[in-house]
Symmetry: C4
Subunit: 242 residues, 4 copies
Amino acid sequence: MSQPTTFEQAVADLVLANRILAQEGVLDGFGHVSVRDPRDRHCYLMSRSIAPALVTADDIIPHDLENNPVEAKDREQKLYYERWIHGEVYKARPGVNAVVHSHSPTVVPFASTKAPLRPLLHNAAFLGFGAPVFEIRDHMRNSDLMISTAELGKAMADTMGEKADVVLLRGHGNVVVGPSLQVAVFRAYYTEINARQQLQAMTIGHGDVIYMDAGECETTDKIMQSVAGRPWDLWKSKVGGS
Amino acid sequence: MSQPTTFEQAVADLVLANRILAQEGVLDGFGHVSVRDPRDRHCYLMSRSIAPALVTADDIIPHDLENNPVEAKDREQKLYYERWIHGEVYKARPGVNAVVHSHSPTVVPFASTKAPLRPLLHNAAFLGFGAPVFEIRDHMRNSDLMISTAELGKAMADTMGEKADVVLLRGHGNVVVGPSLQVAVFRAYYTEINARQQLQAMTIGHGDVIYMDAGECETTDKIMQSVAGRPWDLWKSKVGGS
Amino acid sequence: MSQPTTFEQAVADLVLANRILAQEGVLDGFGHVSVRDPRDRHCYLMSRSIAPALVTADDIIPHDLENNPVEAKDREQKLYYERWIHGEVYKARPGVNAVVHSHSPTVVPFASTKAPLRPLLHNAAFLGFGAPVFEIRDHMRNSDLMISTAELGKAMADTMGEKADVVLLRGHGNVVVGPSLQVAVFRAYYTEINARQQLQAMTIGHGDVIYMDAGECETTDKIMQSVAGRPWDLWKSKVGGS
Amino acid sequence: MSQPTTFEQAVADLVLANRILAQEGVLDGFGHVSVRDPRDRHCYLMSRSIAPALVTADDIIPHDLENNPVEAKDREQKLYYERWIHGEVYKARPGVNAVVHSHSPTVVPFASTKAPLRPLLHNAAFLGFGAPVFEIRDHMRNSDLMISTAELGKAMADTMGEKADVVLLRGHGNVVVGPSLQVAVFRAYYTEINARQQLQAMTIGHGDVIYMDAGECETTDKIMQSVAGRPWDLWKSKVGGS
């Protein structure tokens, strides 16, 4: 699963990623997806501030890592209020090339309890590298729960750390990263699926649930990264991509 | 998110609101949505008595705050049996400009237990201003559970009080209000989403759930009111609005 | 909500009833719906043995109350294996004019536990008249759980008794009746909705759930019978009926 | 429900089986379905490695029971990584003529707890013949949880034994078999439905759930095999089969 190598391909894939995650119920009217700009890894591409399902190529704007539009003509567009998530994660994690922020519906409940999200389904093996919860209340009182400043973006990236590929935002949603856009989309999707199945297993197992162990997660995540193109092709066909 | 300023715009938005809430599963064959008449704030606009998904502009009827049709030609139409909800809320709450009554599926279970609906998801911050339950049995024995008189409408509005933007009706549904139609629709939708996520958090957290605090709710609701147009644009595109 | 008065209207409505209940997820590949023949109340109309979503007017066959085809030309058609449900209910309950047998997904779990299905949602007020469980094992060992003989049909009707409008079949499904086809369809739909909401209320309320009382059920069921045409019109539009 | 007797019919039905199980939510972007080759029962037919919903007749490849392509022209196609499941099951179980491997969403939680999947719904009577869990960790440490070698395929088939028609794979999914493709598809579908209903019954019944007994399962499975064509016809119409 290599990263797209041209700007045009990256834009096309980013539009698909937005539409796929909306179609699959990971994104609703809010949330956003970004990918590093293949022309300059100190920039990333992301839509202007609209609902993900409505994003087209014309809406994609190059941002620098301080989350400002690179091009003068984009300065008048409304940008995502939480774009700080993206810049701070790209700065902190050189291996990350794509970031998904969503309000994935079954992940929010895990963000609002002490029950950790853990890897139950092989497709979600990356959860074994950690799924910490960012409690914004530890950083700001009376906040709107959103990552709306560079400071909050940095604090969130610190909670994520060097190994985790997902961070849960209490009362709000989650952020998932990957070495490529397809892997980040795959992980965002399977974070939601794993959350549903974990909730169900906790219900039927009364807490006695068998999770993947560290060795299994290590082995399995490599395989999953290599096959992320398979569901991508399916999802692409469902949103009308040719 | 300003209120529509012309009658024609208000009617068009009200048709969309009905179709959006049906499409998103908040309304089923029953329920209704109203908005204050931009020509006269002592009147409100609402469909004649049909399923919300089928409402067209021709079905919209101006009602006065005693819930009677304003225009002679509408006197022969069948009106919603529970229109009393609307008139009494508009009388009691000058800041309210739109009202949604639904049988939102996951809110009903909260209306039938002692577990209060509480703000878990940032989009539903307004739940922090209260989500009381109206127990009709305290006002009428052997009722049909519906708000079918001015007295019941007033009692329900009293339970809602001055601050809450939602009231749950035991064994029946809920009523959500907002300063604009878009905000009321946004809140009706996220009341359902919060209910689902709260139920899930209660299941996995065994009652140990982290809710938004009062300060967070205050800050966040303001932001949410300002962005209610975003999902509106998405939902509009899904129901075929241009 | 009057019964159709012509054979043609009854057939048209029965086709719609099959398609509506399949569309709304009450019926899957199995189950069946019948209505008394308006030409002869000692006969009922029901499809030959096919999946409900595929039923057309040509598939409707008049059956007598012994569950045999009335017309010679229908004798070669394959009939529903469980048609005994219908004949025995029509014989036992003169006020019943329509019968729905389904594997309504959330009702099955209630049929397989000691937790009774109870009226929580006003639309399902008729559950207050009883929702007994038929345990086929009390009548036949090593059965296929289906009502495949007149004796089992009669035993099931006895369990239903004179007042209940629904009987749950352990490990299998349920049977819902009404004074008209529209009311039976309405009740079959809201039996499923009530089951979902009751399950959710039991989860969040830890058993402390407020159900409708007997007086409320009596009052409310009358109203619900009078408005069963509202969702019918909506559902009809969804399955392409004009 | 006889097996298809020509190669062309088997291919057409196998394409439908893939699309049906994807449409019904049993298969997602992964999983696979196979059927014995009607020309040679020591071979089976299965798609090359693509998402099931996208399978066409051109993608079907004859495999021998060592899971190699029979025809030289197929040697360059990418094959399913877990094709070992199929060969080992066909070798161990002469009565099996079709195999479905899926990540059926509500079955995974049962595979990850000690709660056994048991027959609750009559359509899933075959669960009474056993639904053992294959714990790959007992055979390989640090695995990717997948059945990617002949040894693992054989160990899985040994866990399945001679009687069970389903085996759950911890942290991964399940494998369902049948004497015909239609029966295997029917069973894969109802394994998922039974899992959902069992989870719900366990929730409302607090563990006190009434399952089908051995005699009921024996009788009922025979009937269900005989009617597997009914939902097949429905599902076929939903995926556009004529």
